[in-house]
Amino acid sequence: MRRAAVAWLLAATFLLPLVPLATWAVSGQWRYPDLLPRETSGRGLALLVDPNSDVLTGLTTSLLIGAVVTVLALAVGAPAGRALGLYTFPGKRVVQFVLLAPAIVPGLAVLLGIQVFLLRYGLADTVAGVVLVHLVPTVPYVTLLMTGAFANFDVGYEQQARVLGAGPLRTFWHVTLPALRPSLAVAGFFAFLVSWSEYVLTLLVGGGTVKTLPLLLFAYVRGADLTEAAAVGMLLVVPPLLLVALLSRQLSGSPGAMVGLGRL
């Protein structure tokens, strides 16, 4: 009983930092030392739907980039995961290292070197350039998750299907894909979240032209109006929380997914 109480207290502490965020988003004037805002205001939330502010642009850009990055990361990482999960071959450890390292080594350190080339070849300041660099932190995690998924995948099912007469495409569609769907969902979820939260890479490559929500929030956090900053912060945090809630069953069942969570 006491243990449960301590556990719930801990959980409450973990939720605490989100409280001022939510409160500030709807506050009008909230100066020290008031514990509660003196007046509420729709100013912050109005900013989110104001066509003159950049928030809607930022939202669509973030969603667009996130979606494209997810699809590409899955397309690139899943086959790699299959190769690593099903086969052994010489040089496998090296490949694993190369594919995993970008998730660990800070993207900033990697990107500084390549920026001038992206500039030269017209990829800087474009959505395409941002999508490209977003693949650097996302593909490793997709690969890692799919490696685990394929390692647990019984290739025998595929072979059975082929013996029974199914072509490679039908086998993929009716045997492989359904078995991998939960892992693909989790991997896609992580790719999206990493891209959604990314700031430094977007800043470096997008150069301020490609306006994603994290870039916008950064500018607001440094400004003097905390209501607006908190409102944008809420916008940035709500979709990930929703996604986690939706996928909670798949997430808790997949230990590899836990590893990906650390990147966020």
Binding site: R3, I104, L217, F218, V259
Partner: protein
């Protein structure tokens, strides 16, 4: 975990006979190209530029000037101390807190999944938002300061300890611990579900005391996961930019912040120095990756 390659089709089919190595290569190429290319390219070019290479221009030569300048800069030396301190303390605190939370939750009977969900709430929160949350909570005019004033412990903002924009980095550490201990907790929980209870039960039957159970049964079981996640946490806190920038001081600043400061300097002589710092950060973190790899192998083998 690995099967003999199913590259060859079942006998009797009229499909193409694809050699195994070609299949593997085809599956790996896109990832290797994209990630390997950008990553290796970025690090390699960064290294070259730190050694004096000026792309698209003539009249440059290899030199170590950037490294000398970086080493001599007091801002960089202070930055090393700050970055290591933050990374170590954040990792240690997050690991201890996370493992403790996991052990606690594991023993809770009812509502365990609800509890886990609540504990995991910080996980999907982007770090920028986390930094804003900490600002709103821990700054001298933040919520905590107002609470202490209401409780009569402080009278003005200045009396509340400086946790943001401070020399030690408390606010930064707080943000990292808040975001990363749920991560450690969730991974540890996953490791604990694999039959730990049976083993502990058996040990208790044999007369082991709780501390011995923990030390000799539970700890070895969760160590690989915990170690691997600690490495990840350390690497991340070492290389993160947004959080130390928003919650820290302009001087001394964390290494990634200093690197970007150099990069954005209008004086292009600072550019190679930015590259030098980037290389240093990469090398330091890459060493950790190797350690992580070794531990990861053991982690994957334990997956149910």
């Amino acid at each position: 975990m690995t099967a003999a390659g199913p590259g060859a089709p079942a006998a009797g089919r009229r499909a193409l006979r694809v050699p195994r190595w070609a299949l593997i290569l085809a599956q790996l190429s896109p990832a290797l190209l994209v990630v390997g290319g950008l990553f290796a390219g970025g690090v390699g070019l960064g290294l070259a530029q730190s050694l004096g290479y000026l792309p698209f221009l003539g009249g440059w030569s290899w030199n170590l000037d950037a490294y000398r300048a970086v080493w001599a800069d007091p801002a960089v030396r202070a930055s090393f101390a700050l970055t290591f301190r933050i990374a170590f303390l954040s990792t240690a605190a997050a690991t201890v807190l996370g493992v403790s939370a996991a052990l606690l939750v594991h023993r809770v009977g009812r509502f365990r999944s609800a509890l886990t969900s609540v504990l995991s709430a910080p996980l999907p929160v982007p770090h920028i938002v986390g930094a804003l949350c900490m600002l709103l909570l821990l700054s001298q005019s933040g919520l905590l300061s107002r609470v202490t004033r209401a409780a009569g412990l402080t009278e003005t903002q200045a009396e509340f300890p400086a946790l943001t924009a401070d020399a030690f980095g408390w606010g930064i550490i707080a943000e990292y611990v808040w975001k990363e201990s749920p991560f450690v907790a969730v991974v540890t929980l996953a490791a604990l579900t694999g039959g730990v209870d049976d083993l502990v039960g058996a040990a208790r039957t044999l007369g082991a005391r709780p501390w011995q159970c923990f030390r000799h049964v539970v700890l070895p079981l969760i160590s690989p996961s915990v170690a691997a996640t600690s490495i990840l946490v350390f690497a991340f806190t070492f290389g993160s930019y947004e959080v130390p920038f928003l919650l820290g001081r302009p001087f001394p600043a964390a290494l990634p912040v200093v690197a970007l400061q150099y990069y954005r300097d209008v004086d292009l002589a600072a550019r190679p120095q930015a590259m030098a710092l980037a290389v240093v950060i990469s090398v330091l973190v890459a060493v950790l990756v190797a350690v992580y790899m070794a531990l990861l192998g053991r982690l994957v083998r334990r997956a149910p």
